[in-house]
């Protein structure tokens, strides 16, 4: 029986995870049913333009979820630091003087100025330029000018350290943090996604490292549009990226591949053999991936070949990656208001890759998915046009469609064998991952049950 003839799975045989959105739940000023179908198959356009929803997202999503900070290899020595943001909150990520990774709100506890104003470096302390309060790499307030004379002897410096994240942890070199002391552990948060991340991050002995430098650019679009695109929108490839197919950087998309969602809003997807298969500007990376594929098949059986490279994916809420046949990129879609993002994007390579191949992979990534990338440039242009079309009174009415592949999900293990977790469809082009993204989103956004 071909895939196309396969009967849809019944809802009872494979209950929805994340669960359906309760229609009577409240999301800020809205009833959940006004914003989303219970199964996530339709999403109201106001979700991408409403200021109230965006403020609620900052509180209930970005102040609670584990957010990506960067790659551990960017902080090689004690005192190494980088600055980034967690949603709109500026943070300093630092390896303190005993080697522990920490992250702090980049804002002086005295009167709010940013205590660090550069991208990266090595420091023993952070001194606020406003009144010169000075903080250690552990976040402690270590110096207050004229302390005794102006604040008095009783002033307790220990009360005024930098605001530190509730938890910081790493997975395969990826650094994440959360502001929520009640958050589950990072490993628990990643859930079954950890299995697939491990396939991507530990292909070679020594794991991964990041190439120096960060691509930074802005796109006038709500953060969920790119997050859900990278969750597994294969359907856009033949049209949005037709030019990249025409010039031979990638082969025409087939419907042969997987779209897997692993719960907690995380997902991956890939056509067989990976994205960016094409004959133009080839590199030796191709042969390297062939070898990795052989090794994975030897470990997990022949169906495992499909998982090198792992594909495109989103770690909820706003960290995405693209592990393609030519390169691997990590990126974060930092929200900058309801209608704007700042993208930070990196090229991540296997540490054991020869230096000349690292350089080639870096160039392939910039050619395709840097801000001027021959794929990225069309995504950005089209996403902006989405946002522009939602601004008006009429444009914000109605719902986006996520019905593709409804009812075709089944446990991934049924198709690929027992080690492969999550839920997948029998076709590559499906909106199952987006539906799962919005069901999880709604679960976080709903008013707490009393």
């Amino acid at each position: 029986m071909s895939n196309a003839d396969r009967p849809p799975c019944s809802a009872t045989a494979h209950p929805l995870q994340p669960p359906p959105i309760p229609i009577d739940a409240r999301i800020g000023a809205f009833q959940a049913q006004d914003l989303m179908q219970p199964d996530g198959s339709a999403v109201d356009r106001r979700l991408f333009v409403d200021e109230g929803i965006y403020r609620l997202e900052l509180e209930r999503i970005f102040a609670r979820c584990w957010l990506y900070l960067g790659h551990e290899s960017a902080l090689p020595e004690n005192g190494s630091f980088l600055t980034t943001t967690m949603a709109e909150d500026p943070v300093i990520v630092v390896r303190d003087k005993s080697g522990t990774l920490r992250a702090f709100l980049n804002s002086c506890s005295h009167r709010g100025a940013q205590v660090c104003r550069v991208d990266a470096g090595v420091a023993t302390t952070f001194r606020c330029p406003y009144h010169a309060w000075t903080f250690s790499t552990e976040g402690e307030l270590v110096n207050v000018p004229r302390l005794a004379a102006v604040y008095g002897e009783g002033f307790d410096k220990s009360r005024y350290g930098l605001r530190e994240v509730a938890r910081l942890d790493t997975f395969g070199g990826m650094m994440f943090a959360t502001w929520d002391p009640q958050a589950p552990s990072l490993r628990e948060y990643l859930g079954d996604m950890a299995f697939y991340l491990d396939l991507m991050l530990n292909r070679m002995e020594g794991g991964t490292e990041v190439i120096g430098g960060v691509h930074k650019w802005t796109i006038d679009v709500n953060w969920k549009i790119p997050s859900e695109n990278f969750a597994g929108d294969h359907y856009h490839v033949p049209s949005t990226h037709a030019s990249g197919v025409a010039m031979g950087f990638r082969s025409p998309l087939s419907n042969n591949g997987y779209c897997i969602q692993t719960g907690n809003g995380h997902s991956i997807g890939s056509e067989k053999g990976g994205a960016q298969q094409g004959t133009a500007v080839p590199t030796a990376y191709h042969g390297f991936m062939e070898e990795m594929r052989r090794q994975l098949a030897a470990k997990h059986g022949p169906s495992a070949e499909a998982f090198v490279p792992i594909g495109v994916g989103t770690i909820f809420p706003n960290m995405s990656f693209l592990d393609s046949a030519r390169f691997r990129s990590f990126r974060v879609w930092h929200p900058r208001g309801v209608d704007k993002i700042e993208v930070h994007s990196w090229c991540v390579v296997d540490r054991a890759l020869p230096a000349h191949l690292k350089a080639e992979v870096r160039k392939q990534y910039s050619l395709a998915f840097g801000p001027g990338g021959i794929f990225e440039q069309d995504d950005g242009d089209i996403w902006q046009s989405v946002q522009d079309a939602l601004r008006g009174h009429i444009g914000r009415q109605g719902r986006f469609v996520y019905e593709m592949g409804l009812g075709r999900e089944a446990p991934t293990s049924e198709r690929y064998g027992s080690p492969f977790p999550g839920s997948s469809s029998d076709i590559l082009m499906t909106e199952a991952n987006q539906r799962a993204f919005y069901r999880h989103y709604a679960g976080l956004m709903m008013e707490p049950r009393r």
Binding site: S243, V281, E342, S366, L367, G370
Partner: protein, 181 residues
Amino acid sequence: MSDTSGAAAPTASGEAGTSASDETWRQVEAFYRHEAMLLQRRRYREWLALMDDAITYRVPVTTSTADGLVTSDNTLGYYDENRELLNARVAKLESKQSWVEQPPSRLRYFVQVIEVVLQADGGVSALSNLLLLQHRWNMEQQFSGERSDTFVMTADGLRLRSRVVVLDRQALGKQGLSVFF
């Protein structure tokens, strides 16, 4: 305007060279005028023909440090190209389904030559300011930066051997970078 005294002058790459003659200045300025015309009209195949086969074309990512914006080798570039990769970009932009340039942008290039130096090996290096204004159907933006070029002299005139453009703005504003610098 040019100094023909023969004194060593610093170049963009930091190597010592000899200040170029008025004739060389004229050639370099003529190259930039012709290049601006080709880029504004998006005649990219002819633009590629102005390059030496060994062209390296790089617009590096900058990092903000206490000493200002810095760049370093073996780090990411917005552009990080040789001839093969430039050809690939141009082939992509020629597609009717290259949405980022459908409809095409209006582009305006302004180049101000700051310094031209004759290298010991007979090559020419030039430092210039670049201002580029872009108007696309759904947005407009401007870029400014410093160009450091080296040229080789051929029977057909100057050919571009290397270009490094350091942009003044660190996080690029606006989606879809689709212009050459």
